[in-house]
């Protein structure tokens, strides 16, 4: 027989249990997620997971000869693929050029190797294929695996499915030392009728079922959906991801410019050849790959960075980190590089 004290404890415990039961059972019951939601989330997570082992493997340094061999093989593959796939009709002008290819891809439409792809071409990547395409000016378009685009013109691209990334300031033209590099405007459209346009920025667009996601890594993009439009921006190292379905914004979240989800873009571009590149060329490339805002302490630093040359092997962006960038630049004795908390890469003169 239980003592009075024990019975008291049991009564108290029962009361506590009942209180909590009453409180918590009054919470909103939650329904199971829809099959559509499950499929969309699974697709996104699966892609991220697929990236994982390669990223771990690539974190080890590859031998320079292996990198050179890979680059040579990629060049040969691009040339051979282009020879077999592209058929050019005379008189048309190329609007784009494939700069880098890994895995497989096909082009339906007009184009030739060397002079590039003409308006109206449809480009598809295979399940392991990635591409980097120069659209003209400084604009680079990167295509992820299992993606398809139609190049309507050098400033208009229809993403039919998959994922792409636009960098409108990807290249430093020869002699570029000015603060404002030439920018390119590009409009990405989707079959659902979403139009995404930019002025001088980095952004990605992806399609999953009927949902379009726009991720901004630099600057601002405008999205038009029927009569409505909205903008998304990246400020102080924090960009945004906007999701659109049935021509309406359904969600918006912050995304750091250095987030691991940008990592796929590194695989869709050629290695950077450090040998004889200027400091300016290198930091421009590295900062854009890493999602950092490049800042020169003065015009004199920028000008000097244009003239000083670096030496070294080819570098894969997937292997790059901030420490490497600092170390490489500081092999040139006059420079000092620091990294600010708001994701700025600051280049200045070394102080004695």
């Amino acid at each position: 027989m239980a003592s009075q004290e024990t019975r008291g404890r049991i009564v108290e415990a029962t009361n506590v249990d009942r209180d909590i039961h009453d409180l918590l059972s009054g919470m909103r019951p939650t329904e199971a997620p829809s099959e559509d939601a499950r499929r969309r989330v699974r697709g996104a997570v699966y892609r991220a997971w697929q990236e994982l082992p390669e990223r771990k493997w690539m974190s080890r340094r590859a031998a320079p000869w292996a990198l050179a061999a890979s680059a040579a093989m990629a060049t040969v593959l691009v040339y051979v693929a282009a020879q077999h796939i592209l058929v050019r009709e005379p008189g048309q002008q190329a609007i784009a050029q494939i700069l880098h290819e890994s895995g497989g891809y096909t082009v339906r439409g007009n184009g030739t190797p060397g002079t590039g792809i003409e308006a109206g071409a449809a480009i598809s990547t295979s399940s392991s294929g990635r591409l980097m395409i120069r659209l003209g000016g400084n604009v680079a378009l990167r295509l992820d695996t299992d993606s398809q685009v139609t190049l309507a013109d050098r400033d208009e691209v229809m993403l039919r499915h998959g994922r792409l990334f636009v960098d409108s300031n990807a290249f430093l033209e020869s002699g570029a030392g000015s603060r404002s590099a030439a920018n390119g405007n590009v409009e990405i459209t989707t079959p659902e009728g979403v139009r995404v346009s930019n002025v001088g920025t980095q952004f990605g667009v992806s399609i999953e079922d009927r949902r379009t996601s726009i991720a901004v890594r630099e600057g601002t993009v405008r999205m038009s959906m029927g009569d409505a439009s909205t903008t998304a921006s990246a400020v102080h190292g924090i960009g945004e991801v906007v999701k659109i379905e049935d021509l309406a914004e359904v969600s918006r979240r912050p995304l750091a410019t250095t987030d691991a989800r940008w990592a796929w873009i590194h695989k869709a571009q050629p290695d950077f050849d450090l040998e004889s590149a200027s400091v300016l060329e290198f930091v421009h490339w590295a900062s854009r790959e890493l999602g950092l805002a490049l800042v020169f302490e003065s015009d004199a630093v920028r000008l000097h960075a244009l003239t000083v040359r670096l030496h070294g092997p080819r570098i894969a962006a997937v292997e790059l980190n901030r420490t490497d960038v600092m170390g490489i630049v500081e092999t040139a004795p006059s420079f000092r590089v620091s990294h600010a908390k708001d994701n700025r890469l600051i280049v200045g003169f070394r102080r004695e």
């Binding site: 909103r28 199971a32 969309r40 997570v45 082992p53 359904v250 979240r253 989800r261």
Partner: protein, 186 residues
């Protein structure tokens, strides 16, 4: 205590075993969605938050040490994602009523399940209390009282035996009650 089964699953995931991915996703997606949905009453936003959580988790799998069950580890990430979401301007606009997304839960507005100010306030205090509890306590209470799982089922999810689960539930109840009183009085 280390969670060997979960550690093995993570090792297989890191070795890119496709069956491991299916196991990982099937075992966690639905539960994580429900975990999120008790805190964020917009299914579309939940989908987004759970996707962010799982994407972040797979990119950090190499940091999982098996010190907590894999699902508990995922809930920790999800809790941070939910907090980030509530801090976003979009969420603030939703909360203030400036925005009404397509997927807002209509049951909160219909006659049968009309949400009174009092019940909304109660829910907020419950959420606040749950979020201040250690994650395992919060999960155990939610599973038992919101989702109606048995002690044995909760034990499996937490990687504990029945007695240890009962003991954990008792401690969780005590902590919850104390927090509840503090929040009600505060």
């Amino acid at each position: 205590m280390l969670h060997g089964t979960d550690r093995r699953l993570v090792r297989r995931l890191l070795r890119k075993d496709p069956r491991a991915f299916e196991e990982f996703f099937s075992a966690n997606f639905g539960h994580l969605f429900r975990f999120c949905a008790t805190r964020v009453p917009y299914p579309d936003q939940c989908e987004d938050i759970v996707q962010e959580t799982l994407v972040k988790a797979v990119t950090k799998l190499h940091t999982y040490r098996g010190e907590a069950a894999l699902f508990t580890w995922l809930c920790g990430i999800c809790r941070n994602e939910i907090a980030d979401w509530y801090r976003s301007p979009y969420a603030r606009r939703l909360q203030s009523g400036d925005l009404r997304p397509m997927d807002a839960d209509e049951s909160l507005a219909d006659g049968e399940a009309r949400d009174t100010d009092e019940s909304r306030a109660t829910r907020e205090v419950v959420h606040l209390a749950l979020d201040q509890l250690p994650l395992r306590y919060a999960l155990a209470l939610e599973w038992k009282y919101i989702h109606g799982y048995s002690v044995a089922e909760i034990g499996v999810r937490l990687g504990l035996g029945t007695t240890a689960t009962q003991s954990l539930l008792a401690r969780a109840r005590r902590r919850f009650r104390k927090l509840w009183v503090e929040l009600e009085e505060g």
